[in-house]
Symmetry: C2
Subunit: 260 residues, 2 copies
């Protein structure tokens, strides 16, 4: 029987605050192996960019990455956030290894075409080197993955962390029974973004499309859910959108996405 | 017979300029496996720190690392420099993996005592996890190592890149026939720092001590040489101080340090 793998994506306010991050890492460490942590860090990157005098430019909620901004995200995602998480996990006895998509050629991407919107140095994933990751997991190593890919020709590219988590799940889902968990600062998908009690515990694809067209679901949640449903369609076992407390329970909780 | 391993330390102006760095990486890629690259990046860190409004403080030529500066070196060494090198090596077909001492618990250190000089969050290496590195090398992986260690309790520490290179050589020298090459922007150890023709081709320990007490050797070179002689005393096969052109030749060239 295939082994069970957990891929936890953590972003937003969880990453930015030491106390929530440490709480998450306490619970993450206790999850059974094999497991992978994928992190974001966008707000920290924006804050450092501003301090350095670089303009932070977003189009339709996504970052435009020019050369200066690429340096910033390479520093912040690949260095500052990634290595702090690795050191904290090592302190908890978890054999963490920080990685970007350039390391071991894990994530090959191509630069997104400049039309219709020029996002700059942003990568769309072409290939996940699944066997390399599986080898690391077999050795008891816990990959901690920063949202950066590369084009194989020396160029690092900025890639959305939710998308990376989903691609990893889709690739590794062929080898492992894979749980993909998007961990955020809300309980899950909410009917009313201001009401934590309006949690949708199970969201099937049909209902999702209705809620989406009725603009019931918060805009910022849409890319996460699109990624989540793509993962399910590609054979990933279970997908959850949940808050950090969910890692305490083996059933994860929050909102579980289902195809039907 | 034990395999031959090359550990190349590159720092200073070589790292700062894309053209010299690319030239070095072209030659590094052609070196036979197994090999390790250790890099610095101090001037880039100082420049980013100044842009962020942080004071850059040096005592006796060594950086004082407060919390802000630790964030900067974690970003610059662990992220910016490390991941650019990794992406460039991958583009050359070299299976590079960027690492700090926290990743895989490679380099355990203790914070340097605050007396006689308080350097802040600086680590003195306690242990190199040799077998972990040897396993990576056995898998055809080329470690690219940033000058950061950790205390095993969640704290990243700033550690001199020359010292890391020497410690790696001493640890791996027990398994491999190890060449340690300090690669800088001078031809090697010079009798006269302003005269490239004054290269000392072979420097034995006795002569080194004489030149040191006579203040013939440039101050900035001393820690590198101390590290180099320590490595030889611990059983490292060959130690060189040389410029980037030296990687073109299997005999490395520049200044070779010898015990007698």
């Amino acid at each position: 029987m295939a082994k069970e793998l957990s891929i936890i994506k953590v972003g937003g306010k969880v990453v930015e605050h030491t106390d929530t991050m440490n709480q998450l890492l306490n619970d993450f460490e206790k999850l059974p192996d094999p497991k992978i942590l994928v992190h974001g860090g966008g707000n920290i990157a924006s804050s450092i960019a501003k301090k350095l005098g670089y303009e932070v430019k977003m189009v339709e909620g996504r970052r435009v990455t020019d050369e200066n901004m690429l340096d910033v995200v390479t520093m912040v995602y690949g260095g500052l956030v990634n290595k702090k998480v690795v050191a904290q996990l090592q302190a908890r006895g978890c054999n963490a290894l920080g990685l970007t998509g350039a390391d071991l050629n894990l994530l090959e991407a191509s630069k997104r075409p400049a039309e219709p919107i020029d996002y700059g140095l942003v990568g769309d994933i072409k290939e996940v080197h699944t066997q390399t990751l599986a080898n690391l997991l077999d050795q008891g190593i816990t990959p901690v993955i920063a949202p950066l890919s590369h084009d194989g020709e020396g160029q690092i590219l900025n890639t959305n962390a939710d998308t990376i988590a989903a691609h990893l799940a889709m690739a590794l889902g062929k080898i492992f029974v894979t749980n993909l968990v998007f961990c955020l600062d809300k309980k899950g998908v909410l009917q009313d973004v201001d009401d934590d009690e309006s949690l949708i515990k199970k969201l099937d694809h049909q209902t999702y499309k209705k809620l989406k067209s009725g603009k019931i679901i918060h805009e910022g949640m849409l890319p996460k859910l699109e990624n989540g449903f793509s993962a399910l369609q590609a054979g990933v076992d279970k997908v959850f959108v949940t808050d950090i407390h969910a890692l305490k329970s083996p059933s994860f909780g929050g909102t579980r996405l289902t195809l039907s």
